[in-house]
Amino acid sequence: MNHSNIYKPLKCIVEDVIEESPTIKTVVLIPEKEFTFQAGQFISFTVPGIGEAPFTPSSSPFVSDKLEVTVMRTGLVTDAIHKLKKGDVVGIRGPYGKPYPLDKFAKKEVLLVGGGVGLAPIRALFYALIGTVEQYKRIVFCCGAKTPADYIYKNLILNEWLKMSEKFPISFRITVDSKDDNWKFGEGLVTKTLDHLDVDVSNSVAIVCGPPVMMKFVTLKLLDIGYKDSAIYLSMERKMYCAVGHCRHCLIGPYFVCKDGPVFTYDSIKNEPGVWA
């Protein structure tokens, strides 16, 4: 057979498992061969003998010898991922799907809205944006989590990224649903960070990633603020197996999350059934 098998994963060694929150871990993988992706694209992650699930890498797309995947424990495969230890062998396939169209963000004010584990793809995107930061008018990063303990990448965001606002046109709006005594930032749902937003909506794009209910209310609020349907980029999630447009599990109406997405502008899917499931 001279065809390469589209389902054969690339072997990876687990280098580290970082606990981000009580339910979220980041797995650091060393792929057997160089592996490149663009922000927004996803991989299918195999735990041998258990199964596969799709995730968007959370590490920098400029790094090709190491890959980080941030995973919330919710089911069979994610449970197995949480049990991985340094040295374990896993597999990845991909990258799949369309990346964030960075060229369309050029000269615009880029609004990032991430909630909970939805910060994972946004982190990869943030690295990509920082790498080409001079192309964008400014970046506004709104992020939220349930509690300070649920905040992923807390050290990175609060200690490293916040400082970037001194050098670059980047501002942060940081919130938790309910704070504790040590929390120095905002309190309230992530939608609250969109209040009194000082962006020029006619020259801005909004990138939203989080749980479905969060994406729904953020989208409604963005529309309310004046964002156009076509300027709202949503990271859609669906049950998925093949990731290559064959198995049809991930359809939203006639659109495949795996190959037409996973990022869709709101106007392209708003009339399809079950968008916010």
Binding site: Y7, E52, Y241, H246, R248, P273, A277
Partner: protein, 352 residues
């Protein structure tokens, strides 16, 4: 396309030359249904060639119920399927769209497709559930086969549809040229069968522009009623010649990855349910509507053709006796009034 004729007393010899070199499957009558079974010199007398479609769809030979996909199946034995009807060939085109013609090609499907020869048939004895004509398709193949056989009174018309078909013909020693009168007889049979299928479906009304209508009627309240006998068994998706959905199972025991593909059914509640427990279609009627939306709207937008081929297997195989033709007639009755000016007012709900 080259066309020949072979007499009834020579067809057995013609076909038995393939035994040995190929795994040959052909239809046999079992409990009043046609089933594909392996053909051999012992049972060749009993094969029923040139009647109607079988119970199993053609996809069984290309996209089997379950198979290993990593590592891929290496060099499957050359095989011949005799007896595929046009509805099945149309279904296989959808499978080609999915597994061969996108950015990613399925390794098992490629080799099965290369190693399988298709000898199709004209339907001469259509079933009451057949409705290919309602979808603009014919009960006889026009392309997509290697050889096609049309059963006439005294023999079979043989059409050669591909180079692979030429290989099956061999030295042509059993063949004659097809005369005008033979072709005339075939034309009469084809017209007769077409009329019969149209008559079977006289009381059903499926709109011509069904994909557009589907979008327009997606939120029709009727969808909440028409599914009510569905017991989500998945029979309709299993027997459908164009249902492709499958899941992947990882069966690796060590660091060498092993994966299998297994059919899935969009009627099942777990089909689209995510790990969080959330599903875009938690209700059965939503899943029923989705199956038809996939056939009549999504596949049209994905591949430029309707997924349904009118084989009627989902009707015949439904334990709830749901007749999709009634469902479609009922949901689209207003649209049909627009299209035909005829008040069809199909009193369908009470039958559903």
């Amino acid at each position: 396309m080259k066309t020949y004729f072979i007499e009834n007393n020579k067809i057995e010899n013609f076909i038995s030359r393939w035994l040995g070199d190929y795994n040959v499957s052909a239809p046999f009558l079992r409990n009043q249904h046609l089933l594909y079974e392996p053909l051999s010199t012992e049972n060749i007398d009993d094969a029923v060639i040139g009647a109607v479609r079988t119970i199993q769809p053609l996809k069984f030979f290309f996209h089997p119920f379950q198979e290993r996909i990593v590592p891929e199946i290496a060099n499957p034995k050359k095989s011949i399927v005799i007896g595929a009807a046009n509805c099945d060939l149309r279904g296989l085109k959808i499978l080609d769209n999915v597994f061969l013609e996108g950015d990613y090609r399925d390794p098992n499907f490629i080799s099965r497709r290369q190693n399988t020869f298709i000898v199709s048939i004209d339907c001469t004895q259509p079933l009451s559930v057949c409705f290919c004509k309602s979808l603009g398709l014919n009960p006889y193949p026009e392309d997509g086969f290697d050889l096609n056989l049309t059963k006439l009174e005294s023999g079979f018309v043989v059409d050669v549809g591909s180079e692979k078909g030429e290989i099956l013909l061999g030295d042509k020693s059993f063949l004659k040229n097809a005369t005008e009168s033979v072709l005339e007889e075939r034309k009469r049979i084809r017209e007769g069968v077409s009329t019969k299928i149209l008559n079977y479906n006289e009381k059903f009304h499926i709109p011509n522009k069904i994909s557009e209508e589907f979008r327009a009627q997606f939120d029709s309240k009727k969808w909440e009623m028409v599914w009510k006998n569905c017991v989500q068994c998945g029979s309709c998706t299993n027997v459908c010649p164009s249902c492709v959905c499958f899941l992947l199972e990882d069966i690796s025991r060590n660091e060498n990855f092993v994966k299998a593909k297994i059919w899935d059914s969009c009627l099942l509640p777990g089909y689209a349910r995510m790990a969080s427990g959330v599903s875009p279609r938690p209700l059965l009627w939503e899943r029923y509507r989705n199956r038809l939306a996939c056939k009549y709207q999504y596949m049209v937008e994905n591949f430029g053709k309707i997924g349904c081929t009118g084989c009627g297997r989902c009707i015949a195989g439904c334990p709830g006796k749901i007749d999709k033709r009634k469902v479609l007639s009922c949901v689209f009755e207003d649209a049909l009034f627009e299209e035909t000016g005829k008040d069809v007012k199909y009193e369908s709900l009470k039958y559903l």
